[in-house]
Symmetry: D2
Subunit: 370 residues, 4 copies
């Protein structure tokens, strides 16, 4: 399977360059009969659009998706679902100055080293705009797994050097996250971080951050040992995002410093209703804690999935930088044009989309376990 396809049964193939005619995806393997409308896709694409405010690019695309196939009378047909979004607001001229120079922190040189050719306009397919096809595909996956009761929620848990308190904090509120462009689930922190980002903008600099993701309603049994484990699939999904540098599940890196007597989650009789069909003679259970992040041996436990993804700072900064050009000569570079200072808010729906694609695929694979 090519490098632009993801998944084994529920597969997404994405296409499109930042400044080409269109971007989109083909979802193949979505079961027939899933209710799906264009609004399911538009809604997610709107969440991915620049949210205004200081944090985001000022390139404004309508990003109206078109459903080209696979849906009939409001339901999926079991055939490939093709979705396309036309590029309309390209200002390719902005990039002509960058044609012969390798931007630091970008994939300009590595793409040339690999392919011998590069669409320099907006980074071509190494642009963040590439995630549009993922979000469209993820919207289909969300529609599918919604039928099984799974709910995915991601948020910005750190940005511009500031950690945001988690669900244990009284100020934590996921509704708040959808109200601010950085998707920070805490009003006070959102404001403080937005201020820091505005300051970075004025300095011509940028910021990184971290997205946390939680999934509830995951039935036990998802994950395909030994190479298609739930965490292996999610890790691949997350690190396939351009700016991602790290991922951790449950206790994550802290687990490296823990002792077994502390880290092990104690099994207890199931308290909550679990939506799943356990095999005969296997008792329902859950765990007193969730250091495991919802998986054991790469298979979901029924506890919430919990993981975090680190994103590096946006590489396009206005501050002058030293780099090389196509002749191998040293050049000072000042990047102009529309650029995010911090992409965390827009990364949230992308993390959710990739999570949905992983879960949809593993849900289907799990039908064949026994």
């Amino acid at each position: 399977m090519g490098g632009n396809s993801f998944g084994t049964l529920f597969t997404a193939t994405t296409f499109g360059e930042s400044h080409g005619p269109a971007l989109g995806c083909v979802v193949d393997g979505c079961p027939a009969g899933v209710p799906l409308g264009i609004e399911d896709i538009s809604r997610e694409l709107r969440r991915r659009r620049p949210g205004g405010g200081g944090a985001a690019t000022t390139r404004v695309e309508a990003d109206e998706p078109e459903l080209l196939s696979g849906v009939f009378a409001g339901k999926t047909l079991g055939t490939p679902i093709a979705i396309m979004v036309r590029n309309t607001a390209q200002r390719s001229g902005d990039y002509d100055a960058l044609q012969d120079v390798y931007r630091p922190g970008h994939a300009d040189w590595t793409w040339e080293a690999k392919y011998g050719i590069r669409d320099h306009r907006g980074g071509g397919r190494s642009s963040g705009r590439e995630t549009l096809g993922r979000v469209a595909a993820g919207a289909v996956a969300k529609a599918f797994i919604r039928e099984y009761g799974m709910v995915i929620q991601a948020w910005t848990s750190a940005a511009a050097g500031v950690d945001v308190p988690g669900p244990e904090d009284p100020g934590f509120n996921l509704d708040v996250a959808e109200e601010n462009p950085l998707r920070i689930p805490h009003r006070g922190y959102a404001e403080a971080i937005m201020e820091k980002i505005e300051k970075l903008r004025l300095e011509g600099d940028s910021a990184g951050g971290r997205v946390s993701c939680s999934v509830t309603g995951v039935p036990p049994g998802l994950g395909e040992p030994v190479f298609g484990k739930l965490d292996a699939r999610l890790a691949a999904a997350m690190l396939s995002l351009g700016a991602a540098k790290a991922v951790e599940f449950g206790a994550g890196f802290d687990a490296a410093y823990e002792q077994g007597s502390v880290h092990n989650d104690q099994p207890i009789p199931a308290q909550d209703e679990i939506i799943c069909q356990l095999p005969p003679d296997v008792p329902a259970l859950q765990f007193k804690t969730n250091n495991a992040g919802g998986m054991l041996g790469g298979i979901s436990t029924g506890m919430p999935l919990e993981f975090k993804v680190a994103f590096k700072p946006v590489p396009s900064i206005a501050k002058p930088q030293q780099t090389l050009d196509r002749n191998g000569s040293i050049r000072e570079l000042v990047i102009r044009g529309r650029h995010d200072v911090c992409i965390l808010g827009r990364a949230v729906p992308v993390v959710e989309a990739m999570t949905a694609l992983v879960l949809a695929d593993l849900l289907l694979l799990n039908r064949c376990a026994r």
Copy 2:
């Protein structure tokens, strides 16, 4: 492709349960003509064996591999390379007491929830012994990528709550790592940590840790955007290991707190000889720093690959734990038998093996980029 196969072109399929007749692998897609002998495989399997000392299990297997196919007159044939290791030192009786109880931190219950059946002897295929097939396959991959000048070196960079200083420290010495069972590249730290582990053993507890990995000689261009990126593939490889909980590349989670002006690595004219064929008109370059960990846009830059993997503490501890049995009743569990207190030393060759499998595959895929 099934959950027990890894890779697209250079593929490894592993098989075998902890206490079944045998474990092993089939490597398919290794090019013809690669020099390969049984000693290449034995050597890596010996590195994976319990190293003695306080840290490791006392189960001693000879782990002598047998090469069943794919090699003729000392060279690979281009046909599948099957490698088998017989289990000889099983003491299945040790596990009879565990047949009806779900060990905390283990995959006992999740396997039953998924498959409805479980080989309880030593965890079946969720055992760490499953990595034997990976190490055998990785040995083949190492033999292949060695021809291209790539060298993989991993070591334990944290264990039992103690961080080991990195290459910048004068006491850092990778030769030392191979001399102690935990593979700690610093004599003083190795001794101190071994003492802590011995103490944990007496307390009936266990320890986690972290493996760092560095690969030199990686040609620019490896990685298949957008879903088969180098970091995505490595992340999947690492999180497919039973005890892994996190992975980070280059600056990793720290990148989330950095600014673009600091994180971006500055391109500079190539200083060192780079072994690769760049396309015409693409200049050789390298980077002043390596916050990126050797990849940009998911494609190798030619700088060393740098990443770290967190491993949770060994779940089998002698201390009494509360858990549930097959009837859903609460039980106190005391685990007896041979168990590692800390598996970090043995994780090192496994991390290397998975890294080799990823690089061998991407090396082949890259032949088709242009």
Copy 3:
């Protein structure tokens, strides 16, 4: 990989229903730097369009393709190439009468039995119109393998019960094939068969036929034993076509009746220049005859590929037929609307497209053999 993707490295994913908004494909894995323009695709799609005359449907679609991604400045980028064709001439009303009835020879009932839902308009994705995405993808593959000197030529070698003489006949002329709607490479036979088909049209009946295909310039070495053999891949490609019922290579079914002393092709010193890089110490050779059809052990020999595909008669006929409806009641069915009497002429570019996809993929895979 989903059921709508084809290939391992050079992959094509097709999408679209007969009467949905659009059809098309995404080609992933085409190497960077291949010259490709919209005209390469339009030309093949025009060959697939109804050619007029008595044989073909009177539905006329412009079938103008749009290149959505993957090409920049006239060359492929190494990124996914998405191609879309909008449906414009749908007359879905024609099909309302067929909504609740299972047409004999069509996949109406099997699709419902599998998916529980069906786009009844024109057969949805089981329509011959689905091949449009294949032809577009095949046009990309043709552009790629053309660089290696491979030339694919297919023609109608039997139709409406009449066998057309082959290349050994003096009247055989492939230029003639492109001049008549059935693509019969012999003027006299073309006229006679067109007459028979016109008679069948008046009778409300239809005809099957056979396509022969020959590929020259195939380098030795293509094919991936043991399951990805050249003939296995071509056989899958051909039988994935809706109306195909059989395929044979070289001597084909006749080989079943031959003796080894007759069937074996004798190796002789290479007479013609062969375009390929043989490994050191392997002599160039060719064969005195070509009963093998250009492959031995599933690997190309360098001799022309030769194979034939049988197509069943068009199932939509005007003659009254007995069938069942959705209630399981017996119904008499008379199919109205635009339908081919014989699709052989249009099958020719589809056979070529699938052949090109197989060869492009095996060409890339072969780069990794040694």
Copy 4:
């Protein structure tokens, strides 16, 4: 996935050279809980062994399989099932004379052209002995699909130039097929053909033939449009066999000469009990005839699958042949040693095994259709 793996979910990876240490397979993706014992595998391997009589090689291998993993307490675990058979009766010396010569009709030269290296002993992996791994894997697939009521039966329907009458003939008897080494289901024809083959042996020549295969109990819905259609998968499976040259489904090549009014199978209300779960509102039906061979649009109809495979004559003949050697010089070749005159009888279980692998895989894939 490598060239030695077959299937998407229910996958078989085979390994082993004719004269290497062992051959075998790893089956990954077989659901947990399927009853499976070593005798299931031994029985099929015995059917594949030379059956004695004039038709078969005199190399006699015990071919005792060993089950290395994936089965516990008589049931599959859902983990990879590895099966190994050691080579014991190699007489490699027989082949030394062939080391530097290219046998006509064999893959000697094409393997060298591809891989640059070849295991000349018995053809290495291009030997018919390679099918041993397929038959072992197919035995697992048979055990799985047997649970669903599917029964596969193949037989020799032509050999040595003689067609054997089909099921419509009163002398046709499948029990007879298992009694003679050629698996001809008709006593009179079996004797006559055996005589012809004995005559060919004396002449130093060989014979081809045809295998017919029928599968009953196939539920409607198997097959994954558009590239994973049932016939496409079976065609790939059959043509992946070394000596196969053609395949046809139902009316096959005859369909090319038929008219729609004759070829179309008429749907009728279901007469026989059909074992399958049809979606709501889809009526049970069957067909008056079976020209389609049990599939429409690449999806099973519930009628018996019917297909035929042509096998070329055995290429190793005692008669002197002209060929080339490694220096490109012309040589006369006389092949000595143990060789089949006609492999049809042994091809029967191999055809069945590949059929079982296809059906097992499609059965699992079909669980995800809706």
